[in-house]
């Protein structure tokens, strides 16, 4: 047993962090927020070149994917990163980033689709089937003011039966379940990145911002908030990496339980770190300018993707009583 990152894995994560910082800098993120087209096809292909969507077919595993996705989450990289990764072996062009694939996730009578008009395909986990939908076939109504401007959403006005009849089943049965588990886990990895980045930003701010003649980080109330953020993010990271081991058969844990647990814990961590990060920034935290609010918004968006913290907690409760 050696549950520690290898040198190669560290290099992979560091490479991704440098790439993200170079190609998705804050100024760029802030500028695309003001436009309707958040996705940049050149950058998306660069993500493809970096192996973001294809790394598992390139001989790496879910473990490596979680490290990469943690970095993408940390850098607030916009777009349907998880869906395109899941489509890599099913839809030509997804693996190298020439086609962008988003998710169709109906919930409670509404279907909100992120980036619907900017992408080429949609995936829909419809029970045992995985469906491919052409977004052009849908009647879509854009949301005027999306909660997360880096994830513009459109509402699908068509009934589910209609969408079903206009879509194609591209996989069914066990592979669909496995892809869905991977989707849950990679979303959780993004959440860990968001939680960690929110913690880092607040931690740095607390060292520089002075009140009452001293850094606010010297106040114990602030210290304790920071410590709680760090704990949440670190525990969630362990859960996500254990989920990677479960999907790679490098653990005796049951994959369904491992990924649901990771999503629940990481979802909670991202939301907690997001809101606490804003609190630590005081009034600055409530401004548009400071990224603290972006982490929280992304945390909300990720929590309602691939099943919420609530959904996965309930799923685990049911696993507790299974004989």
């Amino acid at each position: 047993m050696d549950f520690w990152v290898t040198d190669d894995q560290v290099a992979l994560a560091e490479g991704m962090r440098a790439f993200v910082a170079g190609r998705f800098p804050a100024e760029w993120l802030h500028s695309v927020e003001e436009t309707d087209a958040v996705l940049d096809r050149t950058k998306w292909r660069e993500l493809g070149d970096m192996g973001v969507f294809s790394l598992r077919s390139d001989g790496m595993g879910a473990r490596e994917a979680t490290l990469v996705y943690e970095e993408l989450g940390r850098g607030l990289v916009p777009g349907p990163l998880v869906a395109t990764h899941l489509a890599a072996e099913l839809i030509d062009g997804a693996a190298d980033g020439t086609r962008i694939v988003s998710m169709f996730e109906p919930s409670g009578g509404v279907t909100m689709i992120e980036h619907a008009t900017e992408v080429d395909d949609l995936l829909w986990f419809d029970g045992h089937d995985l469906r491919r939908i052409d977004p052009a076939s849908l009647t879509l109504d854009p949301v005027g003011r999306p909660l997360d401007p880096l994830g513009p959403v459109l509402i699908c006005l068509d009934g589910l039966d209609q969408v079903r009849s206009n879509s194609a089943v591209i996989a069914t049965g066990t592979p669909v379940r496995e892809l869905s588990e991977l989707g849950v886990l990679l979303t959780a990895a993004l959440q860990v990145g968001v939680a960690a980045a929110a913690t880092d930003l607040a931690n740095e701010y607390a060292k520089g911002r002075e009140q009452f003649g001293r850094p606010i980080g010297s106040f114990q109330a602030v210290k304790h908030m920071l410590a709680e953020m760090f704990v949440h993010a670190d525990v969630a990271r362990a859960a996500v990496r254990a989920g990677g081991c479960a999907l790679d058969d490098a653990s005796d844990a049951e994959p369904a339980r491992a990924v649901s647990g990771a999503k629940a814990v990481a979802g909670h961590a991202a939301l907690f770190c997001g809101k606490t990060g804003i609190q630590i920034h005081g009034g600055m935290g409530f401004t548009w300018e400071v990224d603290a609010q972006r982490y929280w918004k992304r945390a909300v968006a990720l929590d309602v993707s691939f099943g919420s913290t609530d959904d996965h907690s309930l799923a685990i409760a049911d696993m507790l009583i299974r004989p």
Partner: protein, 400 residues
């Protein structure tokens, strides 16, 4: 990153499991909690059994009678003994996990020879005399005085919260030997035989009604200078060695038991009737329970990460503090949930008929001590913020 055990590790597990199956039937029932002589006999007998089979001091170096097992084997040992419901380390805790490992690192050859075998065999029970009425979180401000008189230190003062002092043979003591030096610099680490004249041990009743810990009044207790471990006034450093042993594997058995507790709560919820159905029909309760299970799984992953780190670097870094903070907080919430689930049945510290009230209510109370003992959660947070996150240290009170 691989959570699978190697063939060697599995081999260790298989042998241990077979051994446990062979010896556990003879262990007998756990004695009554307040029957101290019986508890001592029970804990010592189990330690002796481990010793005779070569499992005592599992992580201690071979040179000092330990097994020299790797951190992962240590983890497997804790996992298997928990799974088999073998006895806990009990009152051998301080000797095996604190005092012994400190002696291994810091003591003279004579001191080691004199003390380590007794700890490993379960012959000698140790206690920890660190905390004082006015020195808890701020341990370095301790005042218990030791004055040199020929070949002895003469020790006077008061210790408190000393677990198992009323049954112990030896005490690892921190005393003040220099009152003028800065507080961390005037402290010395001594081995105090508990039968020395001048020691008055008075049991303190815990909120559970038990007498786990004591107050110790020391009136001119003579301790030979040869019982000093490390140099005079260097005791703080020696003590930090001890405290670092509290992290890492200290909570493994407990945590595995918590996972079992969580499953039991789910079963209980399906039996307990509420509002015309069972408590399990309450989605809110179910979701909380699912989340607790997810967090326990995450902490189990964190534990294995910490163990892997210890294997690679010899130390448990940040993960020890992170674990303690997260785990103790979780146990508080799990305990609250258990009481809500039991509803009016939570008013009993003992089982009521078929209802395992005792386990759940006592577990809830136990959680209250976990966020206080061995560094309160507030002090742990200071440590995380100051040492790991680099926030400014506060003068006077700090993370140490």
């Amino acid at each position: 990153m691989d959570l699978r055990y190697t063939d060697e590790e599995e081999q260790f597990r298989t042998e241990l499991r077979a051994w446990l199956e062979s010896v556990l039937p003879d262990v007998g029932p756990t004695p009554d909690r307040s029957d101290w002589p019986a508890r001592r006999a029970y804990d010592s007998r189990w330690q002796r059994t481990l010793h005779d089979a070569g499992y005592a001091g599992i992580n201690w170096p071979r040179d000092y009678g330990g097994r020299g097992a790797s951190p992962t084997e240590h983890l497997i040992f804790l996992e298997e003994t928990e799974r088999a419901r073998a006895p806990y380390v009990g009152m051998n805790f301080v000797g095996l996990l604190h005092a012994g490992p400190t002696l291994v690192v810091e003591a003279t050859p004579e001191q080691k020879e004199h003390h380590l075998p007794g700890i490993l065999r379960g012959d000698h029970i140790w206690c920890q005399g660190f905390s004082e009425p006015s020195a808890g979180s701020d341990l370095a401000s301790l005042r218990c005085r030791a004055v040199r008189d020929g070949d002895d230190y003469v020790v006077s003062g008061q210790k408190i919260w000393t677990s198992f002092a009323h049954v112990a043979d030896y005490c690892e003591m921190l005393v003040r030997t220099d009152t003028d030096a800065p507080k961390h610099r005037g402290i010395t680490w001594l081995i105090m035989p508990m039968d020395a004249p001048g020691i008055d041990v008075r049991p303190l009743r815990t909120m559970e009604g038990s007498t786990e810990f004591c107050e110790m009044y020391l009136d001119e207790v003579r301790i030979p200078v040869s019982n000093r471990v490390g140099n005079e006034n260097d005791g703080w450093r020696v003590a930090m060695v001890t405290l670092s042993f509290e992290r890492g594997t200290a909570f493994v058995s407990e945590m595995l038991d918590s996972m079992e507790l969580c499953r039991e709560l789910a079963e209980l919820a399906r039996k307990v009737t509420r509002r015309g159905g069972t408590a399990w029909d309450d989605l809110g309760l179910r979701r909380e329970l699912g989340m607790l299970a997810a967090e326990l799984d995450a902490l189990w992953a964190l534990t294995r990460r910490n163990i892997s780190e210890a294997t690679r670097t010899g130390l448990v870094g940040a993960g020890g503090n992170v674990f303690k903070l997260a785990y103790t907080d979780l146990r508080h919430r799990m305990g609250d949930l258990a009481l809500r689930l039991l509803d009016r049945a939570s008013l009993s510290l003992d089982d009521i008929g078929e209802l395992p009230t005792g386990r759940h209510v006592q577990g809830r109370i136990h959680a209250l001590s976990m966020s206080i003992a061995a560094g309160t959660s507030q002090v742990q947070k200071n440590i995380v913020a100051e040492r790991l996150l680099g926030q400014p240290k506060e003068r006077g009170w700090t993370s140490g």
